[in-house]
Amino acid sequence: MARPTLAVWKFSSCDGCQLSLLDCEDELLAVAGAVDIASFLEASSQVRPGPYDLSLVEGSITTPHDAERIKEVRAQSKLLVTLGACATSGGIQALRNFGDHPRLMATVYARPQVIATLATSTPISAHVKVDLELRGCPVNKAQLLEVVSAVLNGRKPVVHTHATCIDCKLSGTVCVMVAKGLPCLGPVTHAGCGALCPQYARGCYGCFGPSDAPRTTPLAQRLLEGGASPGEVRRLFLSFNAAAEPFQQEAERHVDPDHHR
């Protein structure tokens, strides 16, 4: 049987999610033996035309050109899996969605009019059908390997959607919110990182995006009661998954009086 063909694509992103594949030092050569890497520009100058059995897509859509390019990628791909916060929720560059776009552009570029860019950063699913979304900023290596392995074996990948808070309890970490009063998004954040931040004595900053049915409002209430300012609550929800609906909606309930714009 022919090995399944794999393609890796980049849109607006930091490269970190596809780097996760090259960071699988122990598994890289085995993966390369099990799949036929047909297109992976960051790793190889050999690029073959589609169709592809599995496309891994990193990054969000922020330019008119990319809004077209993703359609071509979809047309060439049997299965399309998005990698990470940018591809799944628009990423940190979706912070532009909350600002005045011409003004943001003028802050960075002297002649913004010559640059073709969209006023919003949107996830891949806003443009084409996505078969599976992997969360995280960056994705978890083990989850990435699980997806590739599931596709190879024709089964459904096991990716849990519960809150990070549960993983934290399972790991036996003392709650940083209860014990230290630190703001923590663990109760509303999608699992996948292994509850890293509390193990490093800080609150979760939500880089895996909203969990299944997140109750953001009681959490925000608790943060305010704990002394956080509305601006702090707003900023906490507006980071790497700012455009994920539950986070965006919660953020918009809190006005940031400190904000200068």
Partner: protein, 430 residues
Amino acid sequence: MSTRTITVENLARVEGEGALTLVMEQGRVTQAKLRLFEPPRLFEAVLQGRSCLETPDLTARICGICPVAYQMSACHAVEDALGVKVGGALRELRRLLYCGEWIESHVLHMVLLHAPDFLGVPDVMALAKVAPERVKGALAIKKAGNAIVATLGGREIHPVNARVGGWHRVPAKAELEALLPALRAARAEAEQTLDWVAGFDFPAFERDYELVSLKHPREYPMNEGRLVSTSGLDLDVREYRSHFVEEQVDHSTALHSRIIGRGGYQCGPLARLVNNFELLTPGALAAARRVGLDPSCRNPFRMLVVRGVETIYALDEALRIIGSYAPPEAPSVPVTMKAGTGQAITEAPRGLLYHRYVLDEAGLVRAAQITPPTSQNQRTIEEDLFALGGALAAMPLEAATRYAEHAIRNYDPCISCSTHFLTLRKEPGE
């Protein structure tokens, strides 16, 4: 007469998206356009109104390959604004984190991205068939570097532990000592990797670059030092903006860095080595001499050999730091918000990374400037392509294309890092 155009629509084995167009007429290059078309991500704009304490985690997302560099430059720049000093073991741990990133990033570039050019194969998978032991060894070194970042920071990419004032949590001595066996094995392997890459064929190509790096009186530079160059620059990093500008070129939105009154310059491993040669560890110094590297080197094609030497240095330094580590009493020093302006430069694997923040009295960012190493090197990369014109013109088109790409990869360009949108630059007079 004969006009030839080399076009590479998508540069491979670089971080991010870029394209190349070279036009050659009568044996010389008349146009070199290195077009970096990474979509703009507007970091400097969206940082406005954010807390300065968020800048290390937010700016890390500019680059998944060198997030530690962004975290370090952001921490130091904010600390400069707030008048915070981080010393002792807290400072040593920052250096250790940086060692981890230098190791993983350098080996990624040397073996996975650049070595295929020298051996005429498309990628590391093909390389693993012709040099299996070297690839396996390199992956083990890379893993050891990543293990430092993951132990100190929780994960390899976008680690979570560094903060303004120090760390969220400092490791126990035993956590760091667990890294020692893999680091010692990597240290031995790194000598072999260095000898291997030093044996590649290097084109006889040199230019009289102005090499710019940090310089510290006692240590090979990572987190701090004065800004020096081979043409006599010797500045406090706070003077950066008085001597370096980012500018737009006609018919272009490219923001190229330039030294005022002089022009292009080179930052990165070669600049660090030349300006700090005597500060290498004895082991790294001996390795450098063995492979014929000294401060007179001006051949950009040998930059991967320099990365090999710096990998040995970073492993030596990591072993030293872990060996002498005693956990500090507190994971961070107190930080109090106040208005001010802060600046810092640290040495990312690819070179100088400048951050500047203007903060208000609540510690919110009013203005941010971030200048990554690839923006600083872009002018120099294009000038290299012009200088290679004769050699490129004499080659068949396909070989010339490969050679031009190879010359670009000398710099390990990180296009994702280019927070500014860069596009074609035309030569004057054309």
